[in-house]
């Protein structure tokens, strides 16, 4: 390639933008909040067990929301549980993500019409990043969900977000000035 190639050949140095390095690190250490609500939790456990092995993606279960990056809502969200889910989500530190696993937490599933006790989709309470369909989804489907989440994280940018916020604030100020005139 040239001079750079030779220069860094022996000392194991990689040059990459900070943002990419951060995102790479984040997406490969997704710690999830163990959150089994119903039969989907069995599939989630199977995904974490040796055959499908979440750990090869750096995905490991945490028992505290404060240590978790992502919450898998695995199962039927009852009205009684919904407020607990909301609290757990609020206890997670940012950046935080939510994977809604299975039909029940996506939209109410088999309870959507006559289930008086079921919340019709966990997205009525907390924001969801990835929806995994299925009843329950197979471990491959949940893994696919995590790969989608990794895609989302790869595309994220700390600086861009700041810029966007700044632009929004600027636009607001300009608008308010116009109104005053």
């Amino acid at each position: 390639m040239g001079m750079l190639d030779k220069k860094y050949h022996d000392s194991n140095i990689i040059i990459v933008s900070l943002e990419k390095a951060l995102n790479w690190a984040r997406k490969n250490s997704l710690w999830y909040e163990q959150f089994g609500l119903a039969c989907c939790a069995i599939e989630m456990m199977a995904t974490a067990a040796s055959r499908y092995d979440f750990d090869r993606f750096g995905i490991i279960p945490r028992s505290s929301p404060r240590q978790a990056d992502v919450m898998i809502v695995a199962g039927t969200v009852t009205m009684k549980m919904a407020s607990r889910i909301k609290r757990l989500y609020e206890q997670m530190s940012e950046p935080r993500y939510v994977i809604s696993m299975g039909s029940c937490s996506n939209c109410g599933g088999p309870y959507w019409e006559h289930g008086y006790h079921v919340l019709k989709g966990v997205d009525k309470v907390i924001p969801v990043d990835v929806y995994v369909p299925g009843c329950p989804p197979r471990p491959e489907a949940l893994l696919e969900g995590f790969l989608k989440l990794q895609e989302i994280i790869t595309g994220e940018s700390v600086i861009k977000k700041k810029d966007e916020e700044l632009e929004a604030v600027k636009a607001e100020i300009i608008d308010s000035n116009k109104n005053e005139d």
Binding site: M79, K80, A82, W112, Y116, L119, K120, K124
Partner: protein, 161 residues
């Protein structure tokens, strides 16, 4: 071991025929309808009498009869020593759905009665812990009643679509 008819006759010898009646259909198990105010007395006798010995309350269910505007409770009893079974039923008006608790006789009744209260709204007098068992404490209504109308919001969360 006694058949349901024999158990009924044995009970009427003890309590008289006014408060008890025997009913059966072509399909299913026959049952004895008991006056609500007598249920605890009858239950205690069923458990303790040496020829009955109903030591197990297998199930206790709440029932809603919308046409008659009544609520009911069904007790399914079993004797592990004498291996016979009997079903008891109690009916009370919706306006005053009070049934004496049999928790002091069979401990199984504790949670079952709470469930019957939670789902159908039967009130069990003298129950030691008379509150909902499945639904949250601030839920409105009893969902297994035939005329149940679901609340639109629960703690600000929509219960429907």
């Amino acid at each position: 071991m006694k058949t349901p008819e024999e158990i009924f006759n044995y009970l009427t010898n003890q309590f008289g025929e006014e408060d008890l009646s025997f009913e059966s259909r072509d399909i299913g198990q026959p049952w004895i309808t008991v006056l609500a105010s007598k249920i605890r007395e009858v239950s205690k006798f069923l458990r303790d009498d040496s020829e009955l010995l109903f030591d197990t309350l297998m199930c206790l269910s709440g029932i809603h009869y919308p046409k008659e505007e009544e609520l009911g409770v069904a007790y399914h009893l079993h004797s592990t020593k004498l291996t016979h079974n009997i079903a008891l039923k109690v009916r009370v008006p919706e306006s005053k759905p009070n049934v004496p608790s049999v928790e002091s006789i069979w401990k199984t009744a504790n949670w079952h009665e709470r469930e019957a209260w939670d789902m159908v709204g039967v009130v069990f007098d003298d129950h030691p812990n008379h509150k909902r068992i499945l639904l949250p404490d601030d839920w409105e209504g009893h969902p297994l009643r035939k005329d149940y109308v679901q609340q639109e919001f629960y703690q600000g969360m929509p219960t429907g679509e």
